[in-house]
C-alpha cells in the first residue's frame, strides 16, 4: 500500500522511487572495488611503467583483460553514482541540474567505453 496521496503522485512530488536502488548499487560497486582497485594498484606498482611492451604484455596476460575491463566498468559506475549525488546536493536549479547530470552520465559512459576499448585493443592484438 502506497503512502503517497493521489495529488502528490499527480504533481510528481516525493521520492523518485529509485533512491534505494542507487544507494545499494553504490555499496555493491564499493565492495567489488576493494579487491579490484587494490589489485590494479599493486600490479601497476610492480610494472616498469615507462616500458610500453611490459605494460601491454601485462594488460594482455591471462585474466588481466577481464579484470581490467571489470575494474574500469565498476570504477566508472561507482564514480557516476557518487558524482550524481554531489550534483543533486549542490545544484538547485532544475534545468542546470538536469543538464549537468546528463553531461556527467555521458562523460562516464565515454570514459568507461574508451577504457574498455583500450584494454581490448591490447588484448586482441596479434602476438
Amino acid at each position: 500500500m502506497s503512502l503517497r496521496t493521489p495529488l502528490g503522485v499527480a504533481l510528481g512530488r516525493g521520492a523518485a522511487r529509485a533512491g534505494v536502488h542507487h544507494w545499494w548499487v553504490q555499496r555493491v560497486t564499493a565492495v567489488a572495488l576493494v579487491p579490484l582497485t587494490l589489485w590494479l594498484l599493486f600490479s601497476l606498482s610492480r610494472l616498469p611503467l615507462a616500458d610500453q611492451a611490459a605494460v601491454t604484455d601485462w594488460i594482455a596476460a591471462g585474466w588481466h583483460p577481464v579484470l581490467l575491463c571489470l575494474t574500469i566498468l565498476v570504477m566508472a559506475w561507482h564514480s557516476v553514482l557518487g558524482v550524481q549525488v554531489v550534483i543533486e546536493d549542490y545544484v538547485h536549479v532544475k534545468l542546470t541540474r538536469t543538464v549537468t547530470l546528463l553531461l556527467v552520465n555521458f562523460i562516464h559512459v565515454v570514459v568507461a567505453a574508451a577504457g574498455i576499448y583500450a584494454v581490448l585493443r591490447v588484448a586482441f592484438r596479434s602476438p
Binding site: T56, H92, A118, V122
Partner: protein, 130 residues
C-alpha cells in the same frame, strides 16, 4: 513555484573530526573521478603508438603531474579506508560516538601508512627508471 528553504549547514555546525572526514570522503571521491579520466587516457596511450605512449609518460613525468599523481594516490588510500568505514556503518558497526571517533583516528592512520608505503614503492621505483 518558490524555492524550498534549505537548512543552514556549514555556517552553523561546530567543527568536528568526523565532519572533516566526511568532506574529505566527498572531495577525494570527486578527485578520483577526475583521476579515472587520466587513467583511461593512459591506458589509451599504452594501447596506441610508441610515440603516443612516450608522450603520455613524458607529460606525467612533469613535476606538477607527479604532484597530482601523489594526490590521486592519497585520495585513493583515504577513500578506500574511509569507504570501508562507511560500509561498516551501513552494516550497523561503529555508529556510537566513541566508536566513530576511534574509527576516524584509525582511518587517518591507515590512510597515511598505506599512502607512505605505496608512494615509496611507486615513486622510488619511477625515480630508478630512465
Amino acid at each position: 513555484m518558490p524555492a524550498r528553504p534549505l537548512s543552514p549547514h556549514l555556517s552553523v555546525y561546530r567543527f568536528a573530526h568526523n565532519m572533516v572526514l566526511s568532506f574529505s570522503h566527498r572531495i577525494s571521491g570527486l578527485y578520483l573521478a577526475l583521476g579515472l579520466l587520466v587513467l583511461v587516457w593512459w591506458f589509451g596511450a599504452a594501447a596506441g603508438s610508441e610515440a603516443a605512449f612516450a608522450d603520455a609518460n613524458r607529460l606525467l613525468s612533469h613535476w606538477f603531474a607527479r604532484l597530482l599523481l601523489l594526490g590521486w594516490l592519497l585520495a585513493f588510500c583515504y577513500h578506500l579506508a574511509n569507504g570501508i568505514r562507511h560500509l561498516l556503518w551501513d552494516a550497523g558497526v561503529g555508529l556510537e560516538k566513541q566508536q566513530a571517533r576511534r574509527g576516524s583516528a584509525i582511518v587517518v592512520v591507515i590512510t597515511l601508512l598505506f599512502f607512505a608505503v605505496m608512494a615509496w614503492r611507486l615513486f622510488a621505483a619511477a625515480a630508478g627508471t630512465p
